[in-house]
């Protein structure tokens, strides 16, 4: 579906994309993650022939880009950064204009109205009135942008932050819609800095940091158990003494223990008369993984606060663990 080799883009002095080798397979739900300014959008624009690579090759749907981009793009639906529209026209009029631009769509002119209506229906704007897009809410604009991407029933959807500006209900709807499309055979390439969005939708992730692809794998392989156990106990002090060196991290009553067998560890603690309030295998979250392989986004200037230590804080089930780095630092 999408294969890039050594893809590099240099803007004047800035190396925006540095030897990226993407590999997106047919039917994938591919999550393309990275901090702000890491080069995600530049990669997306290169895939669509908007920005020309400095070096490296791109193949989309089996054809080289940008050389044969006019053969590729009719089968691709795209939402590039923010959705755009002519503000003085209605959403429907915008879609009619978009549909009329570019090569003749399947069904030709006669089916234009039907295509537009069905795209609006799919994104939940089927009953929208004739107000100008200028008066749309952010969520409505986002839906309209998605409708434009869906106009031609594409084989490949390239989406940049598609749920931006939507409320939780809307996010759920769009996620379901993308799931349906994917089940019907559409490959989805989703670029985002929102981990949860990717974690909930995607089957495969690529992580980009400062222009480099630092990670690319199936999500299932990435978010497996770490081989450690997290324990919460009011008798933390005694547990540390008992487990003698196997505790790799302690945060008040929470411990991380280097031990792969939860059941055995639990038995050992209980047998020693310790109270255990929570116990379970530590799982790598996508968040930890991404934070561990990426630097701070390019929108931060200045020193970075110390990161929360270990993989522990972010994975505690009740979510009460310190997430912000300042709280973590004050405890050290």
């Amino acid at each position: 579906m999408i294969v890039t080799a050594g893809l590099t883009k240099r803007f004047a002095q800035v190396l925006a994309v540095d030897h990226v080798d993407l590999h997106v397979r047919e039917g994938d739900r591919y999550g393309f993650l990275g901090p702000n300014g890491s080069g995600k959008t530049t990669v997306v624009r290169m895939l669509l022939g908007l920005v020309y690579p400095t070096s490296g090759t791109i193949e989309v749907l089996g054809a080289p880009v940008p050389q044969r981009v006019s053969a590729v793009l009719p089968q691709v639906g795209a939402l590039i950064e923010a959705p755009s529209a002519y503000g003085h026209l209605s959403g429907r009029a915008n879609l009619m204009l978009i549909d009329a631009s570019g090569p003749r769509a399947h069904g030709g002119r006669g089916n234009r109205k039907r295509r537009v209506d069905s795209a609006l229906d799919r994104v939940g704007l089927g009953a929208v009135d004739d107000r100008a897009v200028r008066k749309y809410s952010l969520g409505m604009r986002q839906r309209l942008g998605l409708a434009a991407a869906l106009l031609r029933s594409p084989r490949l959807l390239v989406l940049d932050e598609p749920t931006n500006g939507l409320d939780p209900q809307g996010i759920r709807e769009i996620r379901d819609l993308l799931g349906e499309l994917n089940a019907a055979g559409t490959t989805i390439f989703l670029s985002s800095h929102q981990l949860s969005e990717i974690e909930q939708l995607c089957t495969r992730v690529g992580v980009v940091d400062r222009g480099r692809l630092v990670l690319q794998d199936d999500l299932a392989a990435l978010s497996g158990p770490t081989g450690r156990v997290r324990v919460r106990t009011p008798d933390a002090g005694r547990a540390v003494a008992l487990l003698d060196g196997r505790v790799v991290h302690r945060d008040e009553d929470r411990l991380v223990v280097a031990d792969a067998d939860v059941a055995l560890l639990n038995k050992e603690l209980v047998a020693a008369g310790l109270r255990v309030s929570e116990i379970g295998p530590e799982r790598r979250s996508l968040e930890d993984l991404v934070l561990s392989v990426t630097g701070s986004g390019s929108d931060r200037f200045g020193t970075r606060p110390a990161p929360a230590t270990g993989g522990f804080s972010a994975v505690v089930a009740d979510g009460s663990a310190p997430r912000d780095a300042d709280a973590g630092r004050s405890r050290q």
């Binding site: 803007f11 624009r45 669509l48 022939g49 908007l50 920005v51 020309y52 981009v69 006019s70 793009l73 009719p74 691709v76 795209a78 590039i80 950064e81 923010a82 959705p83 755009s84 529209a85 002519y86 503000g87 003085h88 026209l89 009029a93 204009l97 978009i98 009329a100 631009s101 570019g102 090569p103 434009a148």
Partner: protein, 282 residues
Amino acid sequence: MIVLVELAKLARRPRSWVAIALLCGLPALVAVFVAVTHVAPPPGQGPALLSAVLSNGSLFPAAALAIVLPIFLPISVAVVAGDAIAGEASSGMLRYLLARPVGRTRLLVAKLVAIITYVLFAVIAVAVTSYIVGIVLFGDKPISLSSGSITSQSVIANSLSGTPLTPADIILRTVGAVAFIAVSMLGVGAIALFLSTLTDSSLAAALGAMAALIASGVLVALNAAAAVSPYLPTEYWLAWLDFFRQPILWRDIERGFAIQALYVVVFLGAAWANFASKDVTS
């Protein structure tokens, strides 16, 4: 067809119609003042042909074109052409158009066709509305032979033969003038279109084109710049007045067409070279 889409976009922009309304309104305003006061500028002063209009309203389209030509018309053309690519870029639609895909060359050509259509439409609208205004306010008495021809009184008083013009003749010559003026605006259009591919700001592109025209106007009027003036875009702008000479003086009209063609070729080529190879990051 992307050309039709571009024309539809232009037609659905309120701005396009406001500009045309202003273009038609200014000459009408002038006509009302002249008709009410019967004070026309003396021959050789004020807008060309205006003094002749009092005796024959059918000459008013030519006078109206002379009124809008120096500033109003080039401004509206620069605004439309400057908006062509930069407007799409700043509204964020350029990336979506190109990803449809609309080929870059195709988009540029469609924009140019839309600009040409707009210019023609604007000039014809001015000619038609001012013809009506002229007939209503001044009537179309046949040109009296006894007082010499209209053309000899008004335009270029000393140089002409004084042969009278028939109404059909006036219409034909007005059509020629309309065509020449429309073509004269293409140079501005091409400059603005080129600037429009350089920047994401329509305003900057339009102002840039206007700056080029003002600079050209200054140099044309400057005797010390006589060496370059034949190559400036505004040099032959008034050559269409030669359509109202008897016989028509073709020399400057031909040169005017040639210099506009040159500007269109050069700036359209530059616009294409820049746009086709540009990274679209808007």
